[in-house]
């Protein structure tokens, strides 16, 4: 059975406007899938719908099966049971995604305790190990620090550590590097890439940045105005885009690279 099946997902707001229109895709265990689109394409809403966390006022229709549970129609209790255990999320803006009044260590300890049942010394060691894994080596200081005392990149690493502490089968990364400095972006992407490979986690990577997706995801879906306009292996999309919109995306990326004087495949 697929890890995640999205079939004919549509998201509408209260006025009836369609924000996501008949989107379908699947994610198998261990897959690396990308959702590409500009702002307003509905990609983040899709991710929220998948976890059953759409903001109030928006309704989803269609079918979403995550870990076997219908994330649109199931009760809140069943959906809560799926979150974290089957799929966890890393969000775009780490400053607001972390609890501002809780030290980083405690925030990581939360999922460690909940999903791996750790406590006391074992828990403390696990927190340190988690911080090590995301390359935050000054573990004691970082564990005690509040989010506002950390840099953007450090916060996002903490967020990744929290998400992985759930030992999920699927990690959903919603534009995880967009809010970070360019120099830090590459490090975070590399980190994600490695961790996902190490743990065998499936990855659903959402971004507007085509080159990023090329390095991270094996297949991709291009969204525009809420609809899937192209899909397939990432390399195929980049080298032989069939949809005109996808073509313009690829063209812009190539022009940018050429301006930087870099060769890209």
């Amino acid at each position: 059975m697929s890890l995640l099946t999205v079939d004919g997902l549509s998201v509408r707001d209260q006025a009836g406007t369609s924000l996501v229109d008949d989107v379908s895709f699947t994610v198998e265990p261990g897959d690396r899938t990308g959702l590409i689109g500009e702002s307003g394409s509905g990609k983040s809403l899709t991710a929220l719908a998948v976890t059953g966390l759409l903001p109030a006022g928006l309704t989803a229709s269609g079918e979403i099966r995550l870990g076997g549970v219908d994330m649109i129609r199931a009760s809140e209790r069943r959906r809560t049971a799926v979150r974290g255990r089957v799929a966890s999320v890393v969000f775009q803006e780490p400053l607001t995604a972390l609890d501002p009044l809780m030290p980083a260590g405690r925030q990581i300890a939360g999922p460690l305790h909940r999903f791996q049942g750790l406590r006391g010394d074992a828990l403390r060691n696990a927190v340190r190990a988690a911080l090590d894994e995301v390359r935050l080596t000054d573990t004691d200081r970082i564990a005690r620090a509040y989010p506002h005392q950390l840099s953007g990149g450090q916060r996002q690493r903490v967020a990744i550590a929290m998400a992985l502490a759930c030992r999920p089968e699927l990690l959903i990364a919603d534009e995880p590097t967009t809010a970070l400095d360019v120099t830090v972006q590459a490090e975070i992407l590399d980190l994600l890439d490695r961790l996902v490979a190490t743990h065998g986690t499936a990855l659903l990577f959402i971004t507007h940045d085509l080159p990023v997706v090329a390095n991270v995801a094996r297949q991709a879906y291009v969204l525009r105005a809420g609809r899937v306009v192209e899909s397939g292996p990432t390399l195929d999309i980049i080298e032989r885009p069939t949809d005109p919109y996808t073509r313009t995306l690829v063209e812009s990326a190539r022009r940018f690279d050429a301006a930087l004087g870099r060769d890209r495949d």
């Binding site: 809560t80 972390l98 609890d99 009044l101 939360g110 967020a159 998400a163």
Partner: protein, 318 residues
């Protein structure tokens, strides 16, 4: 944190002195020579001069202030112009009524307002959430004295289960009677206070419910209730604590009106009487004590806020 403590304590002390200055000026600059309260019409200049010396108004204003400050520092708050009794002990005698009244009402209001406010926020889309909000809306429009009157009418006059006013002359040596006398006043103040507190708690909780970190908690498998408990309450408490400090301050002498309704011999009624009689040593003494209490509560509130939210320590001013 230590640096903030020192700075905040300095501000507290400066505020106390400044408040004393403001009080002093407010009263001294009011029209009417206090001597007139003491002497009959047609007094001789010598008598007036003697009275002035007695009152201490024969020296210049700044010296008057320093004298008063020195006296206040040694807890000598002067004597009432009307009764000639010393003000300090008079204030102390009133505390066994005002302090239990204020504190009990405050605690009761918080115990009611926090659960109700949180419920009103979490269930803001259900009908009973709306009702709770409407009730709070109603509550802040109700004048305390009207509510007091209503409670007296129902419980004291109609049902006759509680006294309509007054406080046992022996005070707390009759604990049963003292408590009975305070039930309705405490209830009145608590109800009025909780109405406005509910609105603040509700607003703070709504703010938190929409926050990103709550969404992260849910995304990592926390139930809505657990997420709210673990993350929401702490974050919502900071603005609420700021409000609580102000509300406690307001209660302290807002109970003034309630003491009048229930004829309680507390600090508030002492103040009202002093104002009616232009007895300014009394007015000054009571206002100084209550202002000091208010400033102290504000000080404690600021400290507690910063214990919970260290971000507040970073921004410059308090």
């Amino acid at each position: 944190m230590l640096r903030y403590l020192l700075r905040r304590t300095a501000i507290l002390l400066v505020s106390l002195v400044l408040a004393a200055v403001v009080l002093f000026l407010l009263l001294r600059l009011l029209p009417g020579d206090p001597v007139n309260a003491l002497l009959p019409v047609g007094a001789t200049p010598e008598q007036i001069e003697a009275a002035r010396r007695e009152l201490g108004t024969d020296v210049s204003l700044p010296i008057q202030f320093l004298n008063w400050l020195r006296d206040a520092g040694t807890l000598d708050l002067g004597r009432s112009l009307i009764s000639t009794l010393p003000v300090g002990p008079e204030i102390v005698a009133r505390l066994p009524v005002t302090i239990p009244l204020t504190l009990s009402a405050f605690v009761l209001a918080v115990l009611v307002a926090v659960p109700v406010g949180v419920l009103a926020a979490v269930r803001a889309d259900r009908w009973y959430g709306l009702i709770l909000n409407a009730v709070a809306q109603l509550g802040i429009a109700v004048p305390a004295f009207w509510l007091g009157l209503l409670l007296i009418t129902v419980f004291a006059l109609r049902l006759q289960v509680l006294p309509a006013g007054g406080f046992p002359p022996d005070g707390w040596s009759e604990p049963g009677a003292a408590i009975a006398a305070l039930v309705l006043p405490v209830g009145t103040v608590a109800l009025v206070m909780s109405a406005s507190l509910i609105r603040y708690v509700r607003a703070a909780t709504l703010e938190v419910l929409g926050a990103d970190y709550l969404r992260t908690a849910r995304a990592l498998g926390e139930s809505p209730a657990s997420a709210l408990r673990r993350h929401g309450l702490r974050n919502a408490s900071v603005p609420v604590i700021a409000v609580l400090a102000v509300e406690l301050a307001t209660t302290f002498l807002g109970a003034v009106v309630v003491e009048s309704v229930f004829a309680l011999p507390g600090l508030g009624s002492l103040l009202v009487t002093g104002i009616r009689q232009h007895d300014y040593p009394v007015i000054q003494g009571v206002m100084l004590v209550s202002t000091a209490a208010v400033l102290l509560v504000g000080f404690l509130g600021d400290i507690v806020q910063r214990l919970i939210d260290p971000r507040l320590l970073q921004r410059g001013a308090s």
